[in-house]
């Protein structure tokens, strides 16, 4: 067996390092593509060897790192991480293909950062030690920061710093929570350990419920801010909007907040001082994010900003599903992460293509693009439809699962969130109508359709969206297995 | 025997005078002189304590600190000399390139 988990980190990292030293754009893009394809190959290997019938950790590796602190380099893949790794590995090669023809400064850094990002995100997914986890968690900040800061739009500096400081502070507070967990467990067991699973398991034995709450809240704060959900979201619209297309897609692929929620917070949740209250709080946040995101998206004039807010709305589903705390609602939340990654990639790619061809993102300045850009329009349609939850596309499966099964525990919030479906459909259709159809706006000028590479890359992703809409089981199965394991913890305590 | 507190009082007084002088003077040489005063008041303390506790450490310490004070003054004067050559005075107020 290959040490897949480590290789998944190492391969993109090595390719990234080499890419930084390339001279021409061709070399950079080529190497970047090669690296991402290699990663994809590894991921597929892992996927094919993956046993989705068990919630146990697979491809597990562990090396002692700092024994005196109980730090190990331990990595592994299970049903929570596998789909997300898959998502990353699939989208990134197409992202590179998509941007193949774009002209930009310092392409070597651009592609190098993309690969670094991939390595960091996968690193977060496979890490089984808090320290390793945190290291990769922080590492994701750096490429994104520079992505926005260098190749972003007009307000890029502001946006990049805002994003950076926000999420960095949040993750530092999470770190403090991790410290608390670490020391409390040290006191409990007498041996230091940073192992995620062990610490999460130890959590229930801490005597002071105040301590447990403090730890839980500070850790989940980091995840929620990264996700993001409603009160912690204000970095999102700026960063998503100002980022270059590839940057936006990378933001979309940054599923580490939700992953942390499933991996760390949910198993801990039943053992907090008042799980009911926390579940309700989460449900409230999720439902509110869904509605709030949709409402705000409704009144956006900027296409990209609109998509950004719709992304916020979608993230609400993740939280709501988690709060549902039933195997299927949690699986829905996980599937929402997965499908959201695919859908939003298409949407941001489309928005990026529109901006590069027409030079504007303001919806009112567009119009009738379908006539000049039919291929884009078709692909974008798929994305929009999936985003608004049209049955038969992957977005529907996720939303359906979340709504249906969260209703068991949180009926009020679900009913409230259902409002959003109408709104979402409204702004999506409205934007589609104004931008792509209708009267051709002469101000846009003479424009041509997207190039074939872009068609290819977006097309593949669109096909996946459709495929998973019809047949979610390849990923959903493993999600359900793991969700059951998580939820069974709660059942033991009676939640 | 003179009570210990007399020595301590004197030392404290000298120390305060020195500290006050360092705070208020702008001339480098005067500042060095004030610093020497502070160091010597500490020496006075050390010697006084030494004789009252019947241990020798204090006197040895004073000896070393005298030597160090001399070396310190030497280094200080060297710096002031160099400054004087450049600015033609050693008024500390006029040295303000490095601010913020």
């Amino acid at each position: 067996m290959l040490p897949v988990a480590s290789l998944l980190i190492l391969v993109p990292l090595i390719f990234a390092a080499v890419t930084f030293f390339t001279k021409t754009k061709k070399q950079a893009a080529g190497l970047g593509f090669l690296g991402s394809i290699a990663t994809l190959g590894l991921t597929l290997y892992a996927y094919l060897n993956f046993d989705s019938s068990t919630a146990a950790m697979q491809f597990f590796e562990s090396i002692k790192w700092i024994p005196s602190l109980g730090v190990n380099y331990s990595v592994g893949i299970d049903g929570i991480s596998m789909p997300l790794i898959l998502l990353n590995s699939i989208v990134i090669p197409f992202l590179i293909l998509y941007s193949w023809k774009e002209d930009r400064d310092a392409p070597n850094r651009f592609y190098g950062l993309i690969l670094t990002m991939q390595a960091a995100v996968i690193g977060v997914f496979v890490a089984l030690d808090f320290l390793v986890f945190y290291i990769f968690w922080e590492l994701t900040l750096i490429p994104l920061f520079f992505m926005v800061n260098i190749w972003g739009g007009e307000k890029r500096v502001h946006a990049s710093y805002k994003f950076f400081i926000y999420t960095h502070v949040a993750s530092l507070i999470m770190l403090l929570g991790i410290f608390g967990l670490f020391y409390a467990s040290w006191q409990q067991t007498g041996a230091p350990s940073f192992d995620i699973r062990e610490l999460v398991a130890q959590f229930q034995f801490f005597e002071s419920s105040l301590l447990r709450d403090a730890i839980f809240l500070s850790i989940i704060f980091g995840f929620l801010a990264k996700l993001p959900v409603f009160p912690f979201h204000s970095w999102l619209p700026d960063a998503y909007t100002e980022a270059p297309t590839a940057g936006s897609v990378l933001f979309i692929l940054l599923k580490i907040g939700g992953y942390g929620l499933f991996r760390i917070s949910l198993p801990m949740l039943p053992n907090t001082g008042s799980p009911e209250l926390i579940i309700n709080m989460l449900g409230l946040l999720g439902a509110f994010s869904i509605v709030y995101g949709a409402l705000v998206a409704l009144r956006q004039k900027d296409l990209k900003r609109m998509i950004a807010y719709s992304s916020l709305s979608h993230m609400g589903f993740v939280v709501l599903g988690s709060a549902g705390f039933i195997a299927l609602s949690v699986s829905g939340a996980m599937f929402q992460q997965f499908s959201h990654g695919l859908i939003m990639s298409i949407l941001f790619m489309s928005a990026g293509a529109i901006q590069t061809t027409t030079g504007t993102r303001i919806i009112n300045n567009l119009g009738g693009l379908a006539k000049r850009m039919p291929k884009l329009t078709v692909l974008m349609m798929v994305g929009f439809m999936a985003s608004l939850g049209l049955p038969g596309l992957s977005g529907f499966i996720a939303e359906f699962l979340v709504f249906t099964f969260s209703y068991v525990n949180l009926p009020g919030f679900v009913l409230f969130a259902l409002l959003a479906i109408v709104i979402t459909a409204g702004y999506h259709l409205w934007a589609m109508q104004r931008a792509m159809f209708g009267v051709y706006n002469a101000k846009v000028g003479d424009i041509s359709d997207i190039n074939s590479l872009q068609v290819f890359s977006m097309g593949v992703i669109a096909l996946l969206v459709i495929y998973f809409g019809w047949n979610p089981s390849p990923v959903l199965n493993m999600m359900i297995t793991n969700s059951e394991a998580i939820v069974s913890l709660g059942a033991a305590v009676g939640v | 025997m003179i009570p210990l507190s007399f020595y301590l009082g004197l030392a404290a007084l000298l120390f305060s005078i020195g500290l006050y002088g360092v705070m208020t003077h702008k001339n480098g040489i005067r500042m060095i002189m004030c610093i020497e005063l502070m160091l010597n008041s500490a020496n006075l303390n050390l010697v006084a304590f030494s004789s009252y506790t019947n241990t020798l450490d204090g006197q040895v310490f004073a000896l070393f600190s005298i030597a160090l004070a001399a070396a310190e003054a030497a280094v200080g004067f060297a710096i002031f000399m160099a400054i004087y050559r450049m600015h033609d005075n050693i008024n500390l107020d006029e040295l303000n390139i490095l601010r913020w």
Partner: protein
């Protein structure tokens, strides 16, 4: 021979002084290599003697894990500085003086590290101070260097007077200058107001060296004014001396007054880190920025005095070594840039360390830019660097001790610090260069590589360093 490292350092210094006086300026470059060799030998000797313990010279010198660890710190700094200085001193007529002072300063610091007696502590402290005063003003033709040196001197001299006065009270109340004996006899000090006075004076004295707010006034000026290699020594070495002295005096000699000095350090640490970071944000001179960031780092390390658990002490001690590499390296990188600016005569010549001169450094001097990036990320505490491990230990132990509020302040501060560090990285990599690529002098390159290696090795393979730091903390426990 447990004092072999010290002897190696002093002997090298004396030999350099002597043969340097007989050499012509052109051949004096050899002296730099000689100094490096001497420091390296001392480093090897120290590593060899790790784990040994002894008390020598009528209980005045204590060789223990703490002293060995800090000797390592100082020697590592001296190594980096002396390698980098070879280029700085090229064609200088004062090479031997420079190295002699560097080595004597190192010797003084090593003396402080192993002092078991306040007399030795004070003398060694002053030896290091005096040497660094002279080094700070080494550029006799540069008004900034002189101004920095002068401020450093005045405040340093005041601080040593304060310290001496404080020590005199400690001596008077306990009747001894031996640190263990003071700890035994400190009961009187604890009940008497004189103890409080002594604590205040001592904190002021050491605080100057550690550059804690409000005793920090000299630090930005001296760091900015001095030649960059010297700033490196000041920030990375001399500051640590303040810490090891404070470790010895407060924790080992005056545990009876722990309540008092702990309170003082609590306030100082919180204020220092906040002040340093806030002010650093608005700096345009990189050296000054690094100086303020150094202030902030001192604030973090001072948390060790506040928390005082074994883990916190380990963290503080570990931090000193990490900081030595990070800050030392960062100043060396600045030295390389200053060298580039002055030798190419491009950019802002008046403040050669101006942020604008770092524009496009990634293209002009890739190695300098890359290592600077590593250093600033390490300073910001980004994994997997030494800075991260250090912060991890220190902040986590603060949580452990139940002082979450201090940890939150520290964590917010380190988030804030990222702001100006990232700006520097942006200047280096993402702004267009205003010149061609320039060959890096290999001396700077070597020094930078040593520092980068230190930062990364400590971050990735931290176990042995952690063990050393734990052993050292054991001495204080």
């Amino acid at each position: 021979m447990l004092l072999a490292p010290e002897i190696a350092v002093v002997a090298t210094a004396l030999i350099i002084l002597l043969i340097g006086a007989f050499m012509s300026p052109r051949t004096k470059n050899v002296l730099g290599y000689l100094a490096t060799l001497g420091v390296f030998a001392a480093l090897v000797l120290t590593v060899q003697s790790l784990g040994t313990e002894a008390v020598m010279f009528y209980n005045t010198v204590s060789i223990d894990a703490l002293s060995q660890f800090f000797k390592l710190v100082f020697l590592a700094v001296a190594l980096i500085v002396s390698v980098a200085s070879i280029k700085y001193n090229e064609n200088s007529d004062h090479t031997e003086e420079f190295y002699c002072l560097v080595l004597f300063a190192t010797f003084g610091m090593m003396g402080v590290a192993s002092a078991n007696d306040l007399i030795l502590l004070f003398c060694a402290f002053e030896l290091a101070s005096l040497a660094t005063f002279a080094l700070a003003g080494f550029e006799k033709q540069d008004a900034r260097s002189l101004e920095g040196a002068m401020k450093y001197f005045i405040i340093g001299a005041i601080s040593s007077a304060l310290m001496l006065f404080g020590i005199s009270f400690v001596y008077g109340a306990t009747g001894t200058t031996r640190i263990p004996a003071i700890a035994e006899n400190a009961a009187f000090l604890a009940q008497n107001p004189i103890g409080l006075v002594a604590i205040v004076l001592l904190i002021a004295g050491f605080g100057f060296k550690m550059a804690l707010v409000p005793f920090h006034m000299w630090a930005p000026d001296a760091y900015q004014g001095s030649p960059s290699v010297v700033s490196s020594l000041l920030a990375a070495g001399s500051k640590k001396m303040g810490f090891v002295a404070a470790f010895r005096v407060f924790i080992l000699a005056l545990p009876a007054l722990q309540v008092d000095w702990q309170l003082a350090f609590t306030i100082l640490a919180a204020v220092t880190m906040t002040f340093g970071n806030v002010v650093a944000v608005s700096q345009t001179s990189v050296k000054r920025m690094l100086a303020y960031s150094s202030l902030a780092q001192a604030g973090y390390i001072a948390m060790a005095f506040v928390v005082m658990t074994p883990m916190a002490l380990t963290g503080g001690i570990f931090y000193t070594l990490a900081h030595a590499f990070m800050k030392g390296g960062a100043f060396i990188a600045t030295a390389a840039v200053v060298w580039m600016v002055t030798s190419q005569k491009t950019g802002d010549l008046i403040t050669p360390d101006h942020l604008d001169n770092f524009k496009g450094l990634g293209k002009k001097m890739p190695l300098a830019a890359l290592s600077m990036t590593v250093f600033v990320f390490a300073l910001a505490g980004i994994p997997p660097t030494a800075g991260f491990m250090a912060k991890l230990l220190l902040f986590s132990s603060t949580i452990e001790a139940g002082m979450a509020w201090l940890a939150v302040i520290a964590v917010l501060n380190s988030a804030l610090s990222l702001f100006y560090y990232a700006r520097l990285v942006r200047y280096m990599y993402f702004l267009p260069p205003d010149g061609k690529k320039i060959g890096m002098p290999f001396q700077y390159a070597a020094a930078l590589l040593i520092a980068v290696a230190g930062v990364l090795v400590m971050g990735i393979w931290s176990e042995p360093f952690l063990q050393w730091a734990m052993d050292a903390a054991q001495v204080l426990a």
